[in-house]
Every structure is written in C-alpha cells, then in structure tokens.
Amino acid sequence: MFLKRELLRRPDMLLLHCPFCGPRNEIEFAHGGPEKKRRPDSTSDIEDEMWIEYLTVSRNPIGPVAERWWHVRGCGGWFTIYRDTRTHDIIDEGPL
C-alpha cells in the first residue's frame, strides 16, 4: 500500500543537490556506489574477515542508503546523499 501511494506522486528523475552547482537533474551525474566505511588501518593487525567485509559488502537496505555521486557533466565534484531505496526520496540523513 505504502509503495503504491508513494509511486503515484514521485517524480521520475532525481533532483540532486550538488554542493557547488545547486539542484541539478540526475542525467548530469554518474552514480558512484555506496558510501564506504573507513578503510581499515592496514598498518595494524586486522582480521581477514574485516578486510573482506570492507572490500565486498555494502548495506543493502529496503530504506535509506548513503551513496556517492559525481557531477561528471557539471563541476566534476563528488558528494554524498542519503536516498530511500523504496521511493528514491532524497532525505536529510540516514545510517552509514
């Protein structure tokens, strides 16, 4: 039900707020994948499992994700947004 109602009023493209250029249409951007956690400190002893998880696993929630975008057909800058994977709503913040 939630989804159906949401779908009816959602715009078809994202309006992304580039920190330098302001709100611009999604077609100017390239998607840069989910925001990564901090790279584990490889000078100290880290468990293999931590490494593998850092390299291969991202959160995949039915809900908010933090992701990188590249304003490739604009200023060339990178930035992070929070987006709801159910609706494509851009939201203020979410878990990383």
Binding site: L3, D12, M13, H31, E53, P61, R83, T85
Partner: protein, 417 residues
C-alpha cells in the same frame, strides 16, 4: 498428473474446458518439513522439482509471499544464452541451455522454447576485442560465437538501417551466438510448479517469511517465522532474488550483494520482422520479437540500489534513443507497457549458490541474468541441499570465493556492469 496432449485438449473441448484438473494443489500448511525453500520463482520451483526427482526428497514446502511466478520470472525478457566470459561460468550456462532444450518433454508442458541465435551488433573495437576473448573461452566448452560482416548483419536483421558510416558509432561487424533462445517465462514457473507438486512438494502462496530462526544451543537453522506462524525445518534455502539480503539480514548474515532495478518494455504487436535476439552492447539496448509480434526491449539497470519496480524516465529514454539510432523505423511504433524488477548482483557479478556459515542454511542469489539459469540453478542447488556438498558446476559459485578474494569477475554480456 493429468497429461497435456492433443488428445486431452480434444477431450476437454467436449466439456468446454471446465473439467481440467488443477495444475497444483493448495494443501494445508504443516508446521514441519524436511526442506523449506523460500521463494516460488523460477529458481525456487526448479530446486523443489529436482530435489524430489533427483534426490527423492519430497517433504518440501516452497513458501511464496505473493503468488507463484509473480516475481522476476514474470518480468524478464526471456533471453537464454551461454556466451559468458569465465571458465567457471560457461559450463554452468551450457548445462542450463541443454536442460532447457529437454524441458518441454520432461515436464509435459509447452514452454514454446525457440532457438533463434543472438546477434551482437559491434560498434566499438574494445567491445569487439572483449567478445573475441569470450569466443576463445567459449570454444573450449561447446558454446560458440561466429563473426559476420555488416552486410550479412543487415541481411539477417532487415530493420537495422542505422549505424551507417556517418553515424555516431558505425557498425563494425556482428557476432552471432547460435545457442541463444527464448521461451515462455510463465510456462517455466508453472511447469516446474506442476511437476514438483505432482511429486509431493507443497507450494504455499501468500506465505511471507519474516525471519529465519536458529537453534539456541548450536546456531543451526531450525525454521522460519512467517505471516502464518512458525514453520520448522533443518534445511532452509533462500531463493528470493532481489530480496535476499532482507532475509539474511534477519540473522545477521552479511552477504556481498546489492539490489538494483532493471526494466523492460514492449511495443504494439507488428508482423514478424526480427527472428533473432538483437543485442547492442555498445549503446546499451537489446530486443527480440515475441510470438505475439511485440518487440520486447530492455536496457541497462538503474545504477543506484533500488527496491522500486517502476521505470525511471531517463533510463527508459536512453534505451529508446539508442534503439532508434540503429532502428530508425521503430520511431513509429507505440510502446504499450513498461515494468521493472528488483535484481540482486553480487560483488563480482557472478551468482552465489552456496552453503553459509549457518549450518542448514543455503542461498541461491545474485541471479541478475538468471532466467537462463533456472534449470541448472535448481538442478545444482538441489544437489547441494541433498548432499551438503556442491555440485562441481557450482563449486566456483560458493561464498568461500570471497574469503579468498577469488572473485569470478563476470561483466555484463548485455548491458549491466
């Protein structure tokens, strides 16, 4: 099982087709089974069938939150092919195509399987090199590619009038993959459901798994919680395509999988004009013509994670504009329907068919081009569930590969990355 044939068709015509027996039962839900399969899509149903047929395991329930065959199996563009890149992948898909060819007979269900070649329209040299590389690998496993020159491409695909010398990407040549085929997607789900049911498997629709349950003392899987109560089993297989992580997250199992939206659309039906699957990997669109005459068209997935099932306007426009560069006459076609599905893609883009760290829990996931893989996916997952050891064809698809960082990098053959 009531057999389908020309005679049963004629016989049932006398009763106005009112007395056909049901294709599968709707039995009462028990609270214990030997094996639970979550998800009645292509893979879940074929797994159930092969469990019963090849391994004699019939105390099996397939749990489906919606209706049987209503997920991606109902949403895909039905291309079956084995033109993959890696030594680890090609034999698996060759086996799947081989199983498909015999299914209509084996399951006594007309899948409308139609072998019709896929022609890749090559428009850049990097793509040509990539396909040639695949060709040399495929040659080792009885899957083939053959180069044809542009004139021949145009002869085999009459409406292909774009891509001339003055265009943005002139056509360099075509690469033909003769093993490619299409077949009726719903029939795949229905035929496996009917055959599995006939062997004693229960299919429970409107039964949503909410979470997985583990034994307190040893951590083994012991069942699932559903909207219809708790159901117990010592073996549980998660076969839910795009929703894999939402189930494995419930017991803290973290998988290297992300979900994306992939879309397709169809035109109004027209007279037969294309009898092959046309794939245009350089501009990101592919199409074939259905038996009804509609052009079935697909593009690239939306790059961000998504659980939506509609289509983004610009993803749709990109695919249409690309198609019109090569097929300008299609400008006059009306597009009738568009839809999407939620696909899961693993970190290295190769599927995962594997045991997990939780004893008794199996996953079959990462099937973002997994319609072609339905028979072999079920065949090998059933083997894994029954023997607790992987079938040789899926040894490379285990979760263990990530532990050793032994990725099986399988870039998109068509459009996905």
């Amino acid at each position: 099982m009531q057999r389908y044939s020309i005679f049963s068709l004629a016989r049932n015509a006398f009763s106005n087709h009112q007395s056909w027996s049901k294709a599968w039962r709707s039995p009462p839900l028990k609270n214990h089974y030997d094996v639970l399969i979550i998800g009645a899509g292509g893979h879940g149903l074929s797994t159930a069938y092969y469990l019963a047929k090849n391994h004699g395991i019939t105390n099996v329930a397939v749990l489906e939150r919606g209706w049987l065959g209503g997920g991606n199996i109902a949403r895909n563009t039905v291309t079956i092919r084995s033109n993959y890149m890696r030594d680890e992948s090609i034999p698996f898909y060759v086996k799947s195509v081989e199983l498909y060819e015999g299914l209509t007979k084996e399951l006594n269900y007309n899948l409308m399987y139609s072998n019709r070649s896929m022609i890749d329209i090559v428009q850049t040299y990097p793509k040509l090199r990539e396909i040639k590389r695949r060709m040399y690998h495929m040659d080792l496993y009885d899957s083939t590619y053959e180069r044809i020159e542009t004139d021949e491409v145009r002869r085999r695909i009459p409406p292909l009038t774009g891509g001339g010398p003055d265009s943005r990407f002139p056509i360099i040549c075509g690469m033909v993959h003769p093993q490619a085929a299409v077949c009726r997607h719903d029939a795949v789900a229905w035929s496996f459901a009917r055959a599995a049911d006939n062997l004693g498997v229960e299919i429970h629709q409107n039964t949503e798994v909410i979470k997985l349950i583990r034994e307190d003392h040893n951590g083994r899987i012991c069942g699932v919680e559903t909207n219809r109560g708790i159901i117990r089993a010592n073996k549980v297989a998660v076969v839910v395509s795009g929703h894999t992580t939402s189930i494995t997250d419930t017991i803290g199992l973290r998988l290297p999988i992300k979900s994306f939206n992939l879309t397709a659309f169809v035109s109004e039906p027209v007279k037969p004009i294309i009898d092959v699957v046309v794939n245009c990997p350089d501009i990101g669109v592919y199409l074939s013509q259905s038996d009804k005459g509609e052009l079935v068209i697909g593009g690239a997935p939306d790059p961000g994670q998504s659980f939506r099932r509609d289509i983004k306007q610009h993803v749709f426009e990109n695919a249409v504009c690309s198609m019109l560069e090569l097929f300008p006459a299609f400008k006059r076609l009306k597009l009738m329907r568009q839809w999407g599905g939620t696909l899961d893609i693993a970190h290295d883009a190769t599927p995962i068919v594997s045991k997990t760290d939780i004893p008794g829990l199996f996953v079959s996931a990462g099937w973002w081009g997994g319609f072609k893989a339905v028979p072999a996916g079920g065949f090998t997952l059933a083997h894994l569930i029954a023997n607790n050891e992987p079938h040789p064809l899926i040894e490379p698809f285990s979760l263990g590969r990530f532990r050793g960082l032994d990725f099986v990098l399988e870039a998109g053959t068509t459009t996905a990355t």
